[in-house]
Symmetry: C2
Subunit: 368 residues, 2 copies
């Protein structure tokens, strides 16, 4: 073999890294995963560098051996990302990761770009919390500014009695309060931005959560707010000079979209695109970080994605249903853990509804 191989370094070795590698395989890209685990599920599809995400020697090795670097999640220290980016193309940019992992910075960015958001307040003390509740009212939710996900690190306050002591209860760390909004449903927008600034958007996705964890995502071919979602997404991505896939969660209200949060990475609500779009979020992320042209994002067929959480349904029974594709992340089942997903394809919306219902009847999701 005399051909030179392009190797992509991924910080993190979970299912997102695994599916990035699966998408890169037909492009003959190779992958190295930096992950502290002994056998992260992505390691079946590339080299595994077992070390902490901030380990200087490991980061040095990643830079030495990879042509481009990307991140499976946002909780990588700003300085570590900056150091990588000085030596190799490393996307998304450090500023995007830092913004996305802090709910206050994230919401502040939205507001600075005239993107509508729910009522919010920055909470650094119980006094801040009391004042914010007086201002915004109840019910409201307080969340840690960083590190929370899938319903963890947050508390819903419904009555006055829920407020006292909440700051300490959540660890005495910086919080954000979000007022409840009257929304019809939640959508996410997935977009990808290339190094030259071109942006492409997949159809927005309607999401259903259960116990705070994504249960089902259905791309919407002609959602009334597709254009607004794309407008909001482009403002954020251009402001951050973003490269790669970014996900945006929005509340759909009578007055249009309210921005909830961003994820600076491929996102669970975009998994349908593996089978359902001309080019998946995973392939386009890989194309963007390796400076290849972006692929078309059009939807190929009505489809849905159902998460497998905590426990597997009977695989044979699911695969015997028409239109189903199975994604096993190679992870040991644990309550509340995302261990796979199922894509359901159909010829029209009616058939899709029937097929989704048939799959749902087989799920044994253990939400912990």
């Amino acid at each position: 073999m005399t051909r030179s191989l392009t190797r992509v370094g991924i910080v993190g070795g979970g299912q997102l890294g695994r599916m990035l590698a699966q998408a890169g395989a037909p492009l003959d890209l190779r992958f190295t995963f930096l992950d502290p685990g002994s056998e992260p599920c992505a390691s079946a599809h590339g080299e595994h560098l077992q070390a902490d995400w901030q380990d200087p020697a490991a980061l040095e090795q990643l830079v030495e051996t990879c042509d481009a670097i990307t991140f499976e999640f946002e909780n990588v220290p700003f300085e570590a990302v900056e150091r990588l980016a000085e030596r190799r193309p490393a996307y998304p940019p450090a500023q995007a990761l830092a913004t996305a992992r802090d709910r206050w910075l994230e919401k502040s960015l939205f507001r600075s770009l005239d993107i509508a958001v729910p009522p919010i307040a920055r909470i650094d003390s119980q006094a801040d919390l009391d004042a914010a509740v007086a201002d915004i009212g109840l019910p409201a939710v307080v969340k840690t500014r960083t590190m929370g996900y899938d319903g963890k690190g947050q508390k819903v306050m419904r009555e006055a009695g829920d407020v006292a002591g909440t700051f300490d209860e959540l660890g005495g760390v910086p919080l954000i309060l979000e007022g409840f909004v009257d929304f019809d449903h939640e959508i996410s927008a997935i977009a990808v931005r290339a190094r030259d600034g071109e942006i492409r958007y997949w159809p927005v996705v309607r999401n259903e959560h259960r116990q705070g964890i994504l249960h089902c995502s259905i791309p919407q071919t002609a959602h009334a707010l597709q254009a607004q979602a794309e407008d909001y997404a482009s403002r954020v991505m251009n402001e951050l000079d973003y490269v790669g896939v970014m996900a945006f969660e929005f509340f759909v209200t009578a007055d249009g979209l309210l921005a909830n949060e961003i994820a600076p990475r491929v996102h669970n609500s975009g998994h349908w695109s593996i089978e359902g779009a001309v080019t998946s979020q995973f392939e386009n992320h890989v194309r963007a970080v390796t400076d290849l042209p972006l692929g078309e994002t059009a939807q190929l067929a009505p489809c849905a994605m159902l998460n497998i959480i905590g426990a597997f349904p009977e695989r044979e029974a699911v695969l015997a249903l028409p239109g189903t594709r199975w994604h096993d992340y190679g992870k040991a089942p644990r309550p509340g853990r995302k261990i796979g997903h199922i894509t359901v394809l159909a010829v029209d919306e009616r058939q899709l509804g029937e097929r989704v219902a048939a799959v749902e009847s087989l799920l044994v999701n253990d939400l912990g």
Copy 2:
């Protein structure tokens, strides 16, 4: 990790094995490739057992470490396949491989199942050849009964002067003579049969060859002879008690289909199904040999597959065209060698034609 992994052994480590492994990755299947090469292109996606395909120790190791075994090509000795099949599920069955690798046995099977074939004759000597030419006429083609592919090991005879000495010229090995038939175009049918006997069919594919090598395949959503192709395919697969994907090449004539040949494996003319069908030929082959239910074979969108042969076109230019997906087999370019393919997706036939023409204008195929 306490979960037990299913490992599939594949005899052969070329691009077909590679794409089988890519299809099996979301199912969390693992692969071992038995291949004498030092770095066969499939080895990027699994374990590589470097040994001759008949090496007893290597075959023993394959049996010891794999849950099911399959074959990337038909040129595996009958006895070796039988030995494997005594110990592990090994598909396709030895009889199918033996039949498919011998053009005379293959055509004889068609005739025994009342499947129409071109005029043929078995040639074991120059006298047989002279008699067959007198009977069937010219032009005609003689081919070695075994081992020929992509236009190799054959000779077209157009005039009487082409006949003399041809038996020795082709090596003095058993041959088959095939009379020329007046056909409109060539199609292939790809089908998959499960262990329980269920058969599923993809839409038939219209193929264009250049210099005897497949250039372009376009699945046909409503070909007039789809039903006849399925009927013929089912006769062959049921007769052989076949398991896995099988490809059938047919000539389309005014009187219907004439069977040309079978391939007891995933086939180049089915590569479009990776993006273009609900379930690809690769995934369904893997499902069949591991005894998982077959997936739906419906087409998702108009599409075409173009082979990359001998030399790569500029990747960035191809990927910048709308609707293109790139498949690099990780092989070193050599004249006449299949080193990748491009899938083109579109919303309708007109757009597909335009997009295929745009990709074709970039190809620099070196047919050797």
